[in-house]
């Protein structure tokens, strides 16, 4: 299991990388390599050129200001885990990261790699959807920004054009008191989840739901925000019954199936995890209020 031969390029600047990717035939950017390298070792992917982004310092940063977070594409998962500002403003992301692979893969794996590979069960993708993420792309024609929901166009398919590089992602963390939860079900710790749900919830003074965000991931080809539940829960007192309704929405999503895992089991898990995540988030939201 050795990769097919390729030419190797290790540019120092984004513009160089973009030039290479848009001018070379059958070229692929290499981020942390935790998904791409196995595919190349299996020879499922064979590329004439590999453009290694690991020496582009400009792509590795975490900017946190009051209301927004910007994370450079080559920021490693471990760097995010160790960032106290992220722990403070988006604890849901930290919880998500604890489910991402293992120590050694988080040491190499990057957020940009994850958001380019687009495994439907990827935790950082789910969090990006939950936090109304926007990805920034840079190509030969210039830069553009795309909201996550427009960015994921299908199963492992980003809206990036040929030669266009994901350079960073913006997250919009909630301000003020709110609860959060991140629940997933994987066969073993660190495996890709068979389904998962991430929730943010804020309560008003009366204890009713003021705002809710619910992302279900690993079920269909892309993470999904439960728009109906998010809207209909507002103004309601958080109850098990209310959450079960959101669970119904999750259970009606399109679900992937393969030789090992059925679609109906994924939908079943989506319901269970959505309800559990909502319950946990509502408890946290209440605690925040105290």
């Amino acid at each position: 299991m050795r990769p097919a031969p390729f030419e190797y390029h290790d540019p120092r600047h984004v513009s160089e990388a973009v030039d290479l990717l848009s001018s070379l035939e059958n070229a692929r950017p290499l981020a942390g390599g935790q998904s791409l390298m196995p595919m190349m070792n299996f020879r499922y992917g064979q590329f004439d050129h590999l453009v290694d982004l690991n020496r582009i310092d400009d792509l590795s940063f975490i900017d946190v200001d009051g209301s927004s977070i910007r994370i450079g594409a080559m920021t490693r998962q471990v760097e995010m885990q160790e960032d106290t500002r992220l722990a403070e403003s988006v604890p849901v992301a930290l919880e998500a990261l604890s489910h991402v692979g293992h120590i050694a893969t988080r040491n190499r794996g990057t957020i940009g790699g994850s958001l380019s590979h687009l495994d439907p069960a990827a935790e950082l993708l789910a969090v990006s959807a939950l936090l109304d993420g926007v990805v920034h792309l840079q190509g030969k024609e210039g830069k553009r920004s795309v909201p996550i929901e427009d960015y994921v166009v299908g199963y492992m398919t980003p809206a990036a054009e040929e030669g266009e590089l994901l350079t960073s992602v913006d997250w919009n963390p909630w301000q003020g008191d709110h609860g959060w939860s991140f629940r997933e079900f994987a066969r073993r710790h660190g495996d890709f989840a068979l389904a998962g749900a991430a929730v943010l919830m804020a309560l008003d003074e009366a204890g009713s739901i003021a705002r809710a965000a619910v992302t279900v991931f690993g079920v269909g080809p892309a993470p999904v925000r439960l728009k109906t539940a998010e809207t209909s829960m507002v103004g309601e007192i958080p109850t098990r019954q209310l959450f079960e309704l959101a669970g119904e929405e999750a259970a009606s999503l399109e679900a992937m199936q393969d030789a090992v895992v059925s679609g109906s089991y994924r939908r079943h898990l989506a319901r269970v995890l959505t309800v559990r995540a909502l319950e946990e988030a509502s408890v946290r939201a209440k605690d925040e209020k105290k």
């Binding site: 299991m1 050795r2 097919a4 031969p5 196995p38 299996f42 020879r43 079900f185 066969r187 073993r188 710790h189 660190g190 495996d191 890709f192 030789a259 090992v260 895992v261 059925s262 089991y265 079943h268 898990l269 269970v272 995890l273």
Partner: protein, 777 residues
């Protein structure tokens, strides 16, 4: 002389080099000028192969040569590899050739070999070898392949039945007719893989000057590898040497002799250059032997007190595309069913069935986990039917210690009447139950249920024939520096045999362990042998090491008495010096060795052979039977189907323990494998026998959070069948684990009335069964 090391938790001498990264595994060995072999494998489960086009690949950079069946030397052409364990009951003794010979019978079957300067270049070329094959109908599933008219695994067969036989005992004519309770059920178990962390690996070197062929292989049975290379290549027996260096786990499948071993040896001889092949993980999934696909239809008759009257069944075993180990697996399975229970009447039909999948050969447990699953699940059903405690039903049926030796009425695989030699099964179960607080569980369970949590408990017993003969040899000698050297036919893959044999030898000879060197796994030091499988090495190689070391001591004493001119009774061995008690006379072992080797002008007394060297070929007259009881306590998340093993208790009796630390390690590791079989490891194939789970991300090995710390209770009933009183301990951790865990899951889900008759149990399956039960309710 009392035992000094036997029974002690001695730290292992194997560990230090391995911990420093100084181990020597097969792939670590550097032979200069070696060619790297890359195997082109069949993408079809079953196909006619019309041609193999190597023209483009042959001209690629770094390619030395490419070999198909047609290019191989005469001795390999048109031949199947010999069946390692032949049996007269095999009606169609089919085995595969070293390269596909016009017909491929499983995905991954070797079709051609590329020899290249590096693995990378070899893989580049292998990609450009074009195999022209015509897909043929596939015998994909063991259940349907057994039926008349099913697609044939290979065109030369008349049907897919490799063997069809019945084992039985008991005098009652129609035991089921009058029985108060009759229970029937069908159980299905699935294939798992070896997944030793080191994949297979071979290196072969041929020296034309001496005609010497040396093969290094990550093998469990280097002597079998040697025998088959000698047989297939027609090479002089004295000029083939097979060495198993450090081996990174075996678990059974490395006891198979593979085409790649024969190919590397043959091509080293053909090309005159060393040939190296290292299996990669994908190849391991495709081509290393697997085990456990079986379908059991069981029928049990009992009286209303739960006492067994008869057990009968029909066992369909998936042999895969060949029968390299004959009918060992179904045979072991059928003889394991009775376990620790008195069964007046027993009848088991077993069919070994060919399918277009990799061959099945023993994998830790070797047919026994399936047998124990079928039998123990039936005991649970019986308990349920009668409203009895599952442990109590088992106790009522157990063979009592005063019935030992207990002759069951079957012939075991070693040809001897299946006779349990020793053990106290009721006491073993009692100890396990006490440790697990079986009595207190009902209370724990209802308390948990009140909180909405589902916990359950399960128990399972097994009896295992271990320490199988025919023999294993060890040589003991005094080396030039006075150290004791043991050369044994043992071939370890992590069990710590060098330490264990050193403990045994040091005690038997009477020196500190540090003065004992142990060499193993090399046909150049002990030319004949059997191999590591069937939990047999400590029994066989341990006993021969003990005997050889004792007779070496006797010989040293004789020569020392002669040399020091005192009666033998006055000789004392004190580390590397031999003294005459009450005198100041002494001789070092090194000097005594020279003396014993003989010198001109000195006459040996009659009956005393020269040299301080002895050998022993311990040959047990039958297998020795170890036994054990497992108890698992689990919690099931009824919403997701997740199973957490809260506690796991093993009470077991493998006779006397040489090194309790090593035995604990075998049990803990064996249970981990059993947890894999119970909950995780399922080698999926599609309807065309294409493998689905071919990465370690898809085929799930249990990881650290999935395996609890096993609580172990040792019983030590010495066997009378060998001088050490030892029984095998390598597989008992695995054998009843799946039965035990599935029983516990079922118990936890009693409120739903869930029933499971298969394993592994995925969370998905658990949820499906719960949902069905809810619907029925």
């Amino acid at each position: 002389m009392g035992a000094k090391y036997f029974g002690a938790r001695v730290e292992r001498r194997e560990d230090e080099p391995l911990l420093r990264g100084k181990g020597q595994f097969t792939d670590d060995i550097v032979l200069s000028d070696a060619l790297v072999a890359v195997i082109v494998r069949s993408p079809w489960a079953h196909a006619r192969i019309d041609s193999v086009d190597v023209s483009e690949a042959a001209g690629m950079p770094g390619v030395h040569s490419i070999w198909t069946m047609a290019d191989l030397p005469d001795c390999l052409r048109g031949r199947q590899t010999p069946i390692q364990v032949p049996n007269a009951a095999i009606r169609q003794p089919h085995n595969f050739p070293v390269l596909a010979d016009g017909e491929a019978t499983f995905v991954g079957e070797p079709v051609a070999v590329v020899l290249a300067d590096s693995r990378e270049l070899g893989e580049d070329a292998a990609q450009m070898v074009f195999v022209d094959g015509v897909p043929l109908p596939v015998a994909a599933d063991v259940g349907t392949a057994a039926e008349p008219g099913a697609p044939l695994m290979h065109s030369s067969l008349k049907d897919n039945i490799a063997a069809d036989l019945v084992l039985q005992f008991g005098e009652d004519e129609n035991p089921f007719e009058a029985a108060e309770v009759v229970i029937e059920e069908t159980f299905r178990q699935h294939r798992g893989c070896c997944q030793a962390m080191e994949c297979r690996a071979v290196q072969a070197q041929y020296d034309a000057l001496t005609d010497q062929l040396t093969v290094w292989s990550a093998a469990q049975a280097p002597h079998m590898v040697k025998n088959i290379i000698v047989e297939m290549l027609g090479h002089d027996d004295g000029k083939v040497r097979v060495i198993a260096p450090d081996v990174g786990g075996g678990f059974g499948p490395k006891g198979m002799v593979y085409p790649e071993e024969v190919l590397c040896a043959a091509l080293a001889r053909e090309t005159g250059r060393p040939v190296k092949w290292t299996e990669d993980r994908r190849e391991h999934f495709l081509s290393t032997t697997q085990e456990r696909d079986q379908i059991w239809t069981m029928r049990v008759a009992a009286d209303r007190d739960g006492r067994l009257i008869a057990v009968e069944g029909d066992l369909v075993h998936d042999s895969g595309c060949a029968a390299p180990w004959g009918i060992i697996l179904p045979y072991i399975a059928a003889t394991t069913v009775p376990g620790p229970y008195v069964i007046p009447n027993y009848r088991m039909r077993m069919r070994s069935v060919f399918t277009n999948k990799p061959p099945t050969t023993p994998l830790r447990g070797a047919g026994r986990p399936q047998a124990v699953f079928a039998m123990e699940r039936m005991m649970d059903r019986l308990a349920d039917r009668l409203g009895l405690d599952p442990a109590e039903v088992r106790r009522r049926n157990m063979i009592r210690p005063d019935q030992m030796p207990y002759r069951m009425g079957l012939i075991y695989r070693d040809g001897s009447p299946l006779t349990y030699d020793s053990g106290d099964y009721p006491e073993c179960q009692r100890l396990a139950l006490a440790k697990a607080d079986w009595e207190g569980f009902k209370q724990r369970q209802s308390a948990a249920l009140a909180e909405g949590r589902y916990i359950g408990i399960g128990v399972a017993n097994y009896v295992e024939g271990t320490g199988l003969g025919p023999y294993e040899g060890s040589k003991a000698r005094v080396a030039a520096d006075g150290r004791i050297e043991i050369a044994s036919g043992a071939a370890p893959q992590g069990q710590g045999q060098k330490t264990i044999l050193a403990q045994i030898a040091a005690d038997a000879f009477g020196v500190p362990m540090e003065d004992v060197d142990v060499r193993v796994a090399d046909t150049g030091i002990v030319p004949i042998g059997i191999g590591t499988f069937a939990s047999r090495v400590t029994v066989n190689a341990g006993s021969s090491t003990h005997n050889a070391s004792k007779s070496l001591r006797a010989k040293v004493i004789k020569f020392a008495a002669l040399r020091l001119e005192v009666p033998e009774a006055d000789i004392e061995i004190d580390s590397r010096v031999v003294r005459a008690r009450g005198t100041n006379r002494s001789v070092t072992l090194g000097e005594l060795r020279q003396f014993a080797n003989g010198m001109p002008g000195f006459t040996l007394p009659e009956g005393l052979e020269p040299g301080l060297e002895t050998a022993d070929w311990f040959s047990p007259r039958q297998a020795t039977y170890c036994n054990g009881t497992h108890v698992a306590e689990v919690e099931v998340d009824a919403d997701t189907g997740a199973v957490e093993i809260r506690r796991y208790v093993v009470a077991h009796d493998s006779g006397r323990l040489v090194n309790p630390m090593a035995v604990d390690g075998q049990i803990q590791g064996g249970v981990a494998h059993g947890i894999g079989n119970a909950l995780f490891e399922h080698m999926h194939y599609d309807d065309e026998a294409q493998p689905v789970t071919t990465t370690l991300a898809d085929y799930l090995l249990p990881m650290a959070p999935d395996v609890p710390d096993v609580e172990i209770v040792h019983m030590e009933t010495p066997t009378p069948l060998n001088p050490l009183g030892v029984k095998g301990a390598g597989e008992g951790g695995t054998i009843p684990a799946a039965a035990c865990i599935v029983a516990a899951v079922e118990d936890a889900l009693r409120p739903f009335g869930a029933r499971f008759s298969e394993c592994p149990l995925s969370p998905q399956r658990i949820v499906e069964v719960i949902c069905q039960s809810k619907k029925v309710a």
